[in-house]
């Protein structure tokens, strides 16, 4: 790991000013940044440590929704009683992510800035070509070992999968990222790779995530996060689904439905086609399975990741039916 200078920010404003300087990065829990610095992927000249800032770790839940400070730890949010009650999918996404140790370190703001786990991206010594790391250098994953790569939202420049769980739950419930005064929806915060896969987030130098806001909804209160993976725990998703549902008074007709996919796309992926196909319909297994196929409309595989196109709709259908059972 190349050396860097270290500055402990005394205020949000000081952190933002420092982070505006070229070569300077914000350091929170460090679970991504220090790891990538050791891989030779991140090469900051200077780190601004924000973990000692006070008051940015609050978790507030009211009838309007939740506001989670950027420095709240993943583990604390996962275990928060009101988050569990109002946003079960968010709690479930968090406790099924990473390990207990990492959840005690990683912050909510840092979680949104998490980078892909694409093994080619993480290994510059052996794979110099990576458009995400070095724009224009090519993509080592295309034509390589692709079992863990995306099938949705890919481009000719990049097929790296977005690995996070939390943002998949957040995008289902229209969460908003607070960058100081500026606010941006989670959907807009994450960018498709297109021709510029090096640019992953709608955040500019000198900006810093200060909080995440999740609006209250009946669908969020009745929600779940289903994560399917190669081993039972401490593994990234092969495919996952965040699902929330609200029924009409009859308890069978779907008034509102939220569906988002993880583990299959280049960014957190909202499956609106599935939602629209089922809204107003009676929840019925065959209809749910048929509609869930719409989740992977337009999917493109690169060989070994073909299974995700089969798996993702099944995960979606299982999650919707599970939420229906508890009617």
């Amino acid at each position: 790991m190349r050396d860097f200078s270290y500055l402990r920010a005394g205020s949000v404003e000081a952190a933002r000013q420092a982070a505006a300087l070229p070569g300077t990065m914000i350091l929170a829990g460090g679970t991504t940044l220090i790891d990538l610095a050791k891989c030779g992927v991140a090469e900051p000249d200077s780190l601004v440590d924000i973990t000692h800032l006070k008051g940015l770790d609050k978790i507030e839940v009211s009838a309007r929704g939740a506001t989670i400070g950027a420095l709240a730890k993943m583990g604390h949010v996962a275990d928060h009683a009101d988050i569990k009650r109002h946003f079960p999918a968010v709690s479930e996404a968090l406790w099924q992510a990473a390990s207990a140790q990492i959840r005690n370190m990683a912050t909510i703001g840092g979680n949104l800035m998490q980078r892909t786990r694409c093994p080619y991206f993480r290994d510059p010594a052996n794979f110099p070509a990576c458009n995400k790391r070095e724009p224009g250098s090519g993509c080592s994953a295309i034509g390589g070992v692709t079992r863990g790569h995306a099938v949705l939202g890919t481009s000719d420049a990049c097929i790296a999968m977005y690995p996070g769980d939390l943002a998949t739950a957040l995008i289902a419930f229209d969460a908003i990222v607070h960058l100081g005064e500026r606010q941006v929806s989670v959907d807009d915060f994450f960018l498709l790779p297109g021709a510029t896969p090096d640019k992953e987030h709608a955040i500019e130098p000198g900006e810093m995530i200060t909080a995440i806001e999740i609006p209250d909804s009946a669908a969020a209160r009745r929600s779940t996060y289903l994560k399917i993976r190669d081993r039972q725990s401490y593994e990234f998703a092969a495919a996952s689904a965040a699902v929330g549902i609200e029924f009409e008074a009859d308890g069978r007709t779907i008034r509102d439905l939220r569906v988002a996919l993880g583990g299959v796309a280049t960014k957190p992926w909202r499956a609106r086609a599935v939602e629209e196909a089922l809204k107003g319909k009676v929840l019925e297994p065959d209809a749910v399975r048929a509609a869930s196929l719409l989740a992977v409309e337009g999917a493109v595989d690169n060989g070994a990741n073909h299974y995700k196109i089969e798996l993702a709709p099944r995960v979606v259908a299982r999650a919707i039916l599970k939420m229906g059972e508890t009617a």
Binding site: Y6, I102, S233
Partner: protein, 159 residues
């Protein structure tokens, strides 16, 4: 870039230390190479194996992904700080009794993780223990005995 060092004040197992470190030095390397506290192990050095688990302000974290400078102003506990006046911590005793290791390399991390797992209230069943101990890998595959040790220690701590 010129190499500069910064003073870092650390509180480890109740002892205060002041070290002059390059900013990139991790808590793990500071513990092992500068303070001689080699009980905390370096496995993968990338946050994937849990061998370097220590407590910072009472919570389990990975020393390999924590800069030493970030631990300033916090209370750090390592495996060396667990026993009290020569008496093994109940989790240490349970690991011995249940034979919860073979080579022993992952054991300090397992024990630090288990102490926190029990304190968090995440040791209520074997299933819960397996989920909340998943961040500690054991290449010898001593998992059934590790789960038994955590279960035994959880009962002892609660009673």
């Amino acid at each position: 870039m010129t190499k500069t060092t910064i003073p870092v004040h650390l509180d480890i197992n109740g002892d205060r230390h002041t070290l002059q470190l390059e900013p990139r030095v991790t808590l793990l390397d500071a513990l092992r190479d500068r303070l001689g506290l080699t009980g905390t192990k370096k496995g993968c050095d990338h946050g994937q194996c849990g061998a370097c688990t220590v407590h910072v302000d009472g919570e389990r974290v990975l020393a390999c992904l924590t800069l030493a400078a970030q631990a300033e102003g916090r209370t750090v506990t390592t495996i060396e700080g667990l026993a009290r006046e020569g008496e093994l911590h109940p989790v240490q005793a349970a690991f011995l009794e249940q034979d919860a290791f073979q080579c022993g390399y992952c054991t300090p991390g397992q024990i630090m993780s288990a102490v926190a797992c029990i304190r968090e209230g995440h040791a209520g069943s074997d299933e819960e223990i397996r989920e909340y101990m998943a961040g500690n890998l054991c290449r010898c595959g001593a998992y059934p005995h590790i789960v038994a040790a955590v279960r035994q220690a959880a009962l002892e701590v609660q009673s």
